[in-house]
Structure formats: structure tokens, C-alpha cells
């Protein structure tokens, strides 16, 4: 039942655990902020991840050029009138950021014009976000077809590096680095800026925050956009090893939920620890208890929830 693993395998698994955890953090930190601040179960968070990845794939093919627009399957022909023009070279991380900004814009629109009206009504929010996720999934299928897309791993991060006798898969190490940078940036923002203070106040008690003169409505739009953008950025960063395919949204959404539930909502530290925990659990669980591979994430989650319904780090869940 239990398979023992050697040092070399464990080392590889550990690296992958943190890389995967890093991706999950990019996905779920936004989800956690949105849920913590706005109490919106954003069931289109997986769609933001997928959409970002598709945007990234299209831009990476040809760089950020008008040719990339023309090369989008099905609808690209509409841009044929444009001259060939290069805005930016196909730099992987630049494109990940642009992709994140694009999806952040979409997120802001969704919050401003659709979600805003449903303030406080949880079930209608569920229906709306799920409905929109259907729309996004089908549009993606229409535009990018059913084929899986996988951008090449950035050339300078391909393969393995060697330290002494040990090999490290480079791109995975890079993802860990990116996740840590983003985590620190988010932490600085939340703990040290005015915006962060407003977010914290909003998470703690929205009503009091409003009374104190915080423009909660703008704050909501901003946080929702930020969450959407982070997910999309994560989608591009993850694309070289998760690939992009129809159904990626539905695969990622439950993971965001699990991370946030384990870590507790509205807590960045919780999301970070939860992400790494899921990464470790997933990688070591699959390798060591193959018989439970299908339920390796849900069984521990069930245990945590039943024993500690507020999550490992959270205050009580509303």
C-alpha cells in the first residue's frame, strides 16, 4: 500500500511540489482575497487562469505583434487589414504580465457591470460566475479549437541545471522563484500600503470600513481585477508544463477552492502555506500511495474540514 521512495526521487518530488504549489498560489491568492474581502465565491476563477494562458499562448507564438492577432484561429482574419507591426518581442514574462493585465481588465468589467448588482447574494453570484465560465469556456473552444496548446519552455530556462551531483529542473525552480516574488510583493502591498490597509479593513469588517470612509466599491473592483490578473499571469507561467486545453478551467477551480479552504479565507499566508501543502500532498501522495491517487487531495481536505472547519489558519468561515 505504502511505497517507499529514495532520496533522489524525494528531492525531485520536493522541487515539483513547490513549483506546483507556487502556481497554485498565483491561482488562489486572488481567489482568497476576493472571497475574504467580497464574500464572492468566484467560480470563474479557473476561467481567468485558462483565458490568461490562451492569451499568452497566442502572443508567444509570434510575439506581441499584429501578426499574432492575425494568427488567432477563426477570428484572426478580421485583423488582416493591419500592417505587420511589432509592439514587443516575444519575451515570456513580459507577455505573462500583459496577459494578466488584459484579464484583469475583463475581471474589472465583470465586477463593475455584473457582480456589483448581486452584492451579498451568494447563490445568484454562483449562478452568474458559473454562467460566465460556460461562456468563456465555449468562446475559448471556438477560438483556440479543442487542440492542446503548450508554449515552449522559455529557452533560457529549459532542461536541467547541475549543482555538484544534483540535477534541478530549471523551469520548475524558476516558478518557485516567481511565486516567492509575487508573494512578497502581495505581502508588502497588503501589510505596508494604504491600499493594503483598506483591504485588511474590508476583510475584517466591511461595514465599519465603509463607515470609515473607505470607498469599498472601488476597492472591490480593484481587488477583483487583481485576483483575475494574478490567475491569468499564473496561467501563462503554468502553460509550459500544464499546457492549455479545454477543461483546464474546471481542473483548476477545485484546486483554488481546496487551497483556500485549507489555508483559511482572506489570508495570504494561509493561501501560500495551503498552496505548498497541496503541492507536497499531491506529489508525495501520488508517488507513495498510488492506490489513493484519485482521492489524494480530497481525503485530507475532508479530514481538515471535519476536524477544523475554519481551515488550518483561518478564522471561522462565514
Amino acid at each position: 500500500m505504502l511505497r517507499y521512495i529514495g532520496f533522489e526521487e524525494a528531492r525531485l518530488l520536493a522541487i515539483s511540489s513547490f513549483a506546483y504549489g507556487g502556481l497554485l498560489f498565483l491561482l488562489s491568492s486572488g481567489f482568497s482575497l476576493i472571497f475574504g474581502l467580497m464574500r464572492i465565491p468566484n467560480l470563474m476563477h479557473g476561467s481567468f487562469f485558462m483565458l490568461g494562458a490562451y492569451f499568452g499562448v497566442s502572443m508567444l507564438e509570434k510575439g506581441l505583434t499584429t501578426d499574432a492577432l492575425k494568427a488567432i484561429p477563426k477570428i484572426g482574419g478580421a485583423f488582416n487589414f493591419l500592417p505587420s507591426f511589432t509592439i514587443l518581442p516575444p519575451n515570456f514574462f513580459l507577455i505573462a504580465i500583459i496577459s494578466g493585465l488584459l484579464v484583469a481588465g475583463i475581471g474589472a468589467l465583470v465586477e463593475r457591470y455584473l457582480l456589483r448588482r448581486l452584492n451579498g447574494q451568494e447563490l445568484p453570484q454562483v449562478l452568474l460566475t458559473l454562467g460566465l465560465s460556460f461562456v468563456i469556456a465555449d468562446l475559448c473552444l471556438m477560438i483556440w479549437t479543442g487542440d492542446p496548446w503548450q508554449p515552449a519552455t522559455p529557452a533560457e530556462l529549459r532542461g536541467v541545471v547541475q549543482f555538484g551531483t544534483l540535477f534541478f529542473p530549471l523551469y520548475r525552480v524558476a516558478i518557485i522563484g516567481i511565486a516567492v516574488v509575487i508573494a512578497v510583493a502581495l505581502w508588502l502591498m497588503v501589510d505596508w500600503t494604504r491600499l493594503g490597509a483598506m483591504i485588511r479593513a474590508g476583510v475584517d469588517d466591511p461595514q465599519i470600513a465603509r463607515v470609515c470612509g473607505i470607498k469599498v466599491s472601488q476597492l472591490f473592483t480593484l481587488v477583483f481585477a487583481l485576483g483575475a490578473g494574478l490567475a491569468a499571469f499564473g496561467g501563462v507561467v503554468g502553460a509550459p508544463y500544464l499546457s492549455v486545453y479545454p477543461g483546464l478551467d474546471a481542473d483548476m477551480l477545485p484546486l483554488a477552492l481546496i487551497v483556500v479552504i485549507l489555508g483559511g479565507t482572506g489570508s495570504l499566508l494561509g493561501a501560500l502555506v495551503g498552496s505548498f501543502l497541496i503541492g507536497l500532498l499531491y506529489n508525495f501522495g501520488q508517488a507513495m500511495v498510488p492506490d489513493l491517487s484519485y482521492v489524494i487531495l480530497f481525503l485530507p481536505m475532508l479530514l481538515v474540514l471535519v476536524l477544523r472547519p475554519q481551515g488550518l489558519f483561518g478564522r471561522s468561515i462565514p
Binding site: 518530488l13 492542446p148 503548450q150 540535477f167 529542473p169 477543461g247 484546486l255
Partner: protein, 415 residues
């Protein structure tokens, strides 16, 4: 108010006429179109293969100007969503409402298994793409034929080739944790071990595995790794395989879905060097294949793979069967019998015939993936003509064993 009532009455009368038309008994007439129904998947995670299936049959019908064996063809495509319940409902639509003469598809094994009894009870022939072994073996059904392959049909070849030609002695297998994976890897293990090799590790990954590291990290001390992934999983798997440095150490072998020609456009350098066994090759030199590949390139700008070719060949089978019954309108049983008798000299996969269970006997290609002029291609390195689902085994002895499964044939050499 009176006016309203009249309107209502008129409406009801109108509806009545409409219903009468619907209920009119279906008349078989010489000039009535022959109806082909396609069960495919155009939405959701399996859409990749499903869209290709539709392109394949559409290409065939376009080439034939919608006329097969003198009969005008009416083509109806139905989107099952890729699940068993959807397949059943759509089969009902095609058979009960549209009264199709033959059903092509469906894509997934579970979809196929959900409707085999139904098509038999409704006497409608079906040309399957789903690979579930027993559909043309222990539970063979006179209304079902298969023009693609069983799960093990190609991996039998792969196992034999890996030992005899590539001289590999120790192998690991990895595939999705479901029947298509079990059956493919069972076929590989059987021929590989009977030739003298040892399968020392069999790994199964859940269908929705995001990252294959936990499986790749377990590979050690083998000469090769055989994989049986499908859908978008081979793309993810091969990238991780290369990124983790496994590719340099253990040559990778693949079943047909993992290295389908249509998948090449989604793959990169990580696929170079992978050896695979497939019942179709887009580079195979037959007149019909050249035409098929050229038309697929022209109409859809794609290199076709097994999903499209399978349905193209299914179309050829329908044409041949219509000719066999002399272009006449016949009942489902007669048409199913005619389908079983189909033999073709020129299909995209070469010579084609069916065994007595309705499964194809045809060419299997061993290919090696290369980069030529910047493009990935699967170059054929060996062809095995007339491969049956029973490989070289005696049919009776083969069927006396249990169906291929996770633990059959038993893996005695696991370490």
C-alpha cells in the same frame, strides 16, 4: 375574446397537421436519401478528437459530392458532450427521430459501451471509433463494426518491435488510470514479455493529472518507457518527461493516441525521437490517403490523424456496403451484414478488411518522430501488414482468457 379563441383553435389545428406529418410512417423509397448519423464530441474536454472526427467524415462526403453508391447522403452530426448519458440521448435522437441508416462514432469507450445494446435492439448498424476490446471480442455485436483499432491492436506491435528491433529488455509502462490505458499497456506487456522482455513497472496516473512528475520520478533502471496517454495528457506528459531529464535516459514509446499525427502541431522538441505504433500514418502512400491528406490541408489547414482517418474510412465502409446491397434501401440487419463483408483495397491505411467479429484487420505503422524542415513528422520505420486484434494468437485461445485489464495479464516481473 372570440378572435383570440379562433386564433388558438387555428393554432391547435396547425399543430395537429404538423404532428400528423411527424407521425407519418417512414417510407423506404429508392430515392430517399441514405442517412448517416455521427456521434461526436464538439464541446468540453474531449472536443479535440471529436472535432477531428467530424472533419474526417465531412472531407469524405465532400469528395464524393454527398453521393455514395448512387444514393444521396444526408449527414447529421450530434454532439454527445463526451459522456455516456449524452451518447445515449444523442443515439436516440439519431435513431428514433432522424431514423438514420448507420451511426458513426462515438469517440470514448464508455460512450460506446453505453449504446451497443441500444443499437442492437434498434437494429441500426454502428461503425465505432471507441477502442473497448470486448465490443468486438467477448461481447461482439452483429450491429457494431470497428474500422479503427482495439486498444491492444497497436501496442501488440509496439511491444514486439521494442524487444525484437529496438533490443530493449526492461520496460516501464505509464498510462491513464482507466480502461483504455489498461488495455493498451496489457497488449504491450504481453508481446514484450512473450518475446523475452520484462515489464518491471506499471504506473497509472489519474485522468485529470496536472503534473506527471510523481510518475516520471519513479522511473529508474529501465531501457524504455511505453506510454498510452490520450487527449491533452500526452502533451503535458512529454514536456515534463523532457524537462525532468528522463527523456535523455529512457527512450519513450507511445500508443496511437499519444503520438497521433494530428497531435504533432501541439508538440515541440520533447516529441523528437519518440517511437510509436499507429494504425494510420498521414505519410502513407496510397491514392486515397494522398487525396485525404491534401483535402484536409486545404479545407482545415491541418495534418490529419487517427480520429479524422477513422471516420474517413468509416465513410468508405458505408459506401462499399451501399454498393454491396446494390444501392437499394434495406433494413438495418441486411446493411449491418453488408458492412461486415466490406473489403477495401485502397484506404488511407491501405488494404482493409474485417474479421468475423467486425474488427478491422489492417496495417499498423511503427513511426519515429523527427524534425524535418522545422516541422515535426512521424517517419514510418516499419509497417506490419494485416494486423488483427488477436495479433498472432489463436482466436479461440485469446478469447478464452479474461479481457485485458489493470492486472491482466498478470505482471510477474514488477520490481
Amino acid at each position: 375574446m372570440t378572435m383570440h379563441r379562433r386564433k388558438v383553435l387555428k393554432g391547435i389545428a396547425g399543430a395537429g397537421v404538423g404532428l400528423a406529418a411527424l407521425k407519418a410512417p417512414y417510407v423506404w423509397a429508392q430515392d430517399a436519401p441514405f442517412k448517416i448519423g455521427l456521434l461526436t464530441v464538439k464541446t468540453g474536454p474531449l472536443a479535440q478528437g471529436g472535432i477531428q472526427m467530424e472533419q474526417g467524415i465531412a472531407t469524405f462526403l465532400k469528395q464524393k459530392q454527398n453521393t455514395l453508391g448512387g444514393r444521396k447522403i444526408e449527414f447529421i452530426s450530434a454532439d454527445t458532450g463526451g459522456n455516456a448519458a449524452g451518447a445515449k440521448t444523442k443515439a436516440q435522437e439519431l435513431i428514433e427521430r432522424e431514423k438514420v441508416n448507420v451511426v458513426l462514432g462515438p469517440l470514448a469507450a464508455a460512450e460506446l459501451l453505453a449504446i451497443t445494446d441500444y443499437v442492437r435492439d434498434n437494429q441500426t448498424p454502428l461503425i465505432s471509433l471507441g477502442a473497448a476490446e470486448d465490443v468486438t471480442q467477448r461481447n461482439a455485436n452483429p450491429f457494431v463494426i470497428r474500422a479503427s483499432s482495439t486498444s491492444g491492436q497497436c501496442t501488440h506491435v509496439l511491444g514486439d518491435y521494442a524487444f525484437k528491433e529496438l533490443k530493449f529488455k526492461r520496460a516501464a509502462t505509464v498510462a491513464e488510470d482507466w480502461a483504455f490505458g489498461y488495455e493498451q499497456m496489457a497488449g504491450f506487456q504481453r508481446t514484450f514479455e512473450e518475446a523475452g522482455g520484462k515489464v518491471v513497472k506499471k504506473l497509472w496516473a489519474p485522468l485529470n493529472t496536472p503534473d506527471f512528475t510523481p510518475y516520471i520520478a519513479q522511473l529508474a533502471n529501465v531501457d524504455c518507457v511505453a506510454n498510452g496517454f490520450a487527449g491533452s495528457n500526452p502533451v503535458k506528459f512529454m514536456r515534463a518527461y523532457a524537462d525532468l531529464g528522463a527523456k535523455a535516459r529512457f527512450p519513450l514509446l507511445a500508443g496511437w493516441t499519444a503520438m497521433d499525427d494530428a497531435l504533432l502541431r501541439s508538440l515541440g522538441d520533447e516529441a523528437v525521437g519518440v517511437v510509436s505504433a499507429h494504425w494510420y500514418s498521414s505519410s502513407f502512400d496510397t491514392p486515397s490517403n494522398k487525396q485525404f491528406v491534401a483535402d484536409m490541408r486545404k479545407d482545415y489547414n491541418v495534418l490529419p490523424g487517427g480520429y479524422s482517418a477513422g471516420m474517413y474510412i468509416a465513410g468508405q465502409c458505408v459506401e462499399a456496403a451501399i454498393k454491396l446491397v446494390g444501392g437499394k434501401s434495406v433494413d438495418g440487419k441486411t446493411f449491418a451484414d453488408a458492412l461486415h463483408k466490406v473489403t477495401l483495397d485502397d484506404t488511407p491505411r491501405g488494404k482493409f478488411s474485417l474479421d468475423r467479429f467486425g474488427n478491422v484487420v489492417g496495417t499498423v505503422f511503427v513511426r519515429k518522430c523527427e524534425r524535418k524542415d522545422g516541422q515535426l513528422v512521424n517517419t514510418v520505420v516499419k509497417t506490419y501488414p494485416d494486423v488483427s486484434q488477436f495479433w498472432t494468437y489463436d482466436e479461440k485461445a485469446f478469447l478464452a482468457n479474461p479481457v485485458y485489464a489493470r492486472d491482466y495479464p498478470p505482471a510477474k516481473n514488477l520490481e
